[in-house]
């Protein structure tokens, strides 16, 4: 059994991760509201909360709670109701192992954190399939099938790019990778970083990879039949997904908490880098059109996979050369 102090510490860590899980997606969502609006020469929300609509997402949450909770009569009710939870939990767990700062500033320092994150993010697709199939709606099913095809394709470059940086660092632990990171890796691991970011975008089904949702052709894809809190959970999952992918990109390829005065300000650097990547995620949504299904698969198999394999070769070569010398 754990002594009292350790229980307290555990509770503190779980609490901190939960707070991050609840607050960071809202920040990203609000930023998306405002950034997207200004990129389209609009103002975005201006009323809720008074100052520049800062409480818009809180108001949205209140609205979602008030909505009727509808399960279609033809739907497979238990699966339909379970899917939003299954969509949300993997990201919560993933947030727990991403290091925020040097030393012990991480929810749970796992020896093979990288592998854990990759595995758990991959589980999200099960939720998509559950939602798609149980809705008893042809648009939902089409969206789900597109999502499954997309996620299984992009899982490969996603894992390969992450493997490259793990090879470079010689460890699978996320704090270990950040520890081993050096600025010149920015160039050495650049192809892997780009591949990882692109396939990460595809993993969380963000535009330009939102073929499974594609509201101009599939109503709202696998989310068509969802309303109220269950829909809100799916939305929350999408924004936690942005946080997780941004934080992972920052951790693996941008040096995590490295920066001036990293000992005391490491957490700030990590948050800033994550925010910068999240901004790019939003930016791409505004600027780029959706990829067609065949373009999507072509990009994955003919560009990303070969690039990530070449990067693996490069990483191995440089690594061996470093060990030899």
């Amino acid at each position: 059994m754990l002594p009292g102090m350790q229980w307290l510490e555990l509770a503190l860590r779980v609490g901190a991760v939960t707070v991050a899980f609840l607050v960071l997606p809202l920040l990203v969502g609000q930023t998306e509201h405002k950034v997207m609006a200004h990129m389209q020469a609009r103002l975005g929300p201006m009323y809720a909360g008074g100052f520049h609509g800062w409480a818009q997402l809180v108001a949205d949450g209140v609205k979602f709670i008030q909505k009727e909770d509808i399960t279609p009569r033809a739907a497979d009710s238990p699966v339909f109701k379970l899917a939003p939870g299954v969509a949300l939990i993997p990201y919560l767990l993933a947030l727990a192992v991403i290091p925020l700062g040097p030393g012990d500033l991480v929810g749970e320092p796992l020896d093979i954190g990288l592998f854990f994150v990759l595995a758990i993010v991959g589980v999200g697709v099960v939720a998509v399939l559950m939602a798609a199939w149980s809705s008893a709606n042809k648009y939902s099913l089409l969206g789900g099938l597109r999502a499954a095809a997309q996620l299984m394709g992009y899982e490969l470059p996603f894992v390969l790019a992450a493997a490259s940086v793990a090879m470079a660092a010689g460890t699978l632990s996320l704090p270990g990778i950040v520890e081993a990171w050096e600025p010149w890796w920015l160039i050495w691991q650049l192809p892997a970083a780009i591949v990882f970011f692109i396939s990460g975008l595809a993993e969380i089904r963000r535009p330009p990879f939102d073929m499974p949702i594609a509201d101009s052709e599939l109503v709202f894809g696998y989310l068509t039949e969802y309303t109220g809190m269950r829909f809100a959970f799916f939305l929350l999952a999408e924004y936690v997904g942005i946080v997780v992918i941004s934080a992972l990109t920052a951790t693996l390829f941008l040096g995590g908490w490295h920066g001036p005065m990293a000992e005391s300000l490491g957490w700030l650097w990590m948050l800033l880098k994550t925010a910068a990547v999240a901004f790019v995620v939003i930016w791409l949504r505004v600027a780029w059109p959706r990829l067609r299904e065949d373009q999507l698969q072509r990009l994955c198999w003919l560009v990303l996979v070969p690039v990530s394999l070449l990067q693996l070769v490069l990483t191995a070569a440089v690594r061996v050369a470093m060990v030899q010398s």
């Binding site: 592998f115 199939w133 299984m152």
Partner: protein, 168 residues
């Protein structure tokens, strides 16, 4: 007499979940739900690996089996035929299945109990990635490579099957 620890109890409980879910996989008449029960089974097995301190194997289990294989299976089921509700036309011979399943299960159980009854296994070392890598690529590299040849053969076979035959 060994002391039953919390880990032992959890191991048993999770094992029950795995077996129960596995039974649900083969007994449910909802096709897609069978696939979802498979997720539960494989997830429970991953937890068992965790309880045995084989973290790496556990997460490989999640990544490959839950994240890829079951998804592929569900994908295929949904692509071909995915009715919501019971399917009445399932071809499920109960008795042969029961015989084979129970037979192999009981056989394996007695085999292991018989082999390890007298001498207990010493606590396994933590299944870290490093140890696993050393095992696979140093001690067991030949079986590993043979396995990959098998996979390659399957891959070639899949390509041949899916290629449009010019002659016919």
């Amino acid at each position: 007499m060994t002391v039953i620890t919390l880990a032992d109890i959890m191991f048993g409980a999770v094992g029950l979940v795995a077996v129960g879910a596995a039974l649900a996989v083969v007994s449910t008449s909802h096709l897609v739900r069978a696939g979802l029960w498979l997720v539960v089974t494989l997830g429970a097995i991953a937890v068992e690996f965790l309880l045995l301190r084989a973290e790496f194997v556990a997460w490989v289990q999640v990544l490959i089996y839950v994240g890829a294989i079951v998804v592929l299976l569900l994908f295929a089921v949904m692509l071909t035929k995915a009715p919501i509700g019971r399917s009445t036309d399932l071809d499920r011979p109960i008795w042969p299945a029961l015989l084979v399943g129970a037979g192999s299960g009981l056989g394996l159980a007695t085999l292991f109990a018989w082999v390890y009854a007298s001498d207990g296994i010493s606590a396994p070392p933590v299944g870290s990635a490093e140890k696993l890598g050393q095992n696979i690529f140093r001690d067991w590299v030949l079986p590993f490579e043979v396995l990959s040849v098998l996979l390659l053969a399957a891959l070639v076979g899949a390509i041949v099957l899916s290629k449009k035959d010019a002659k016919s």
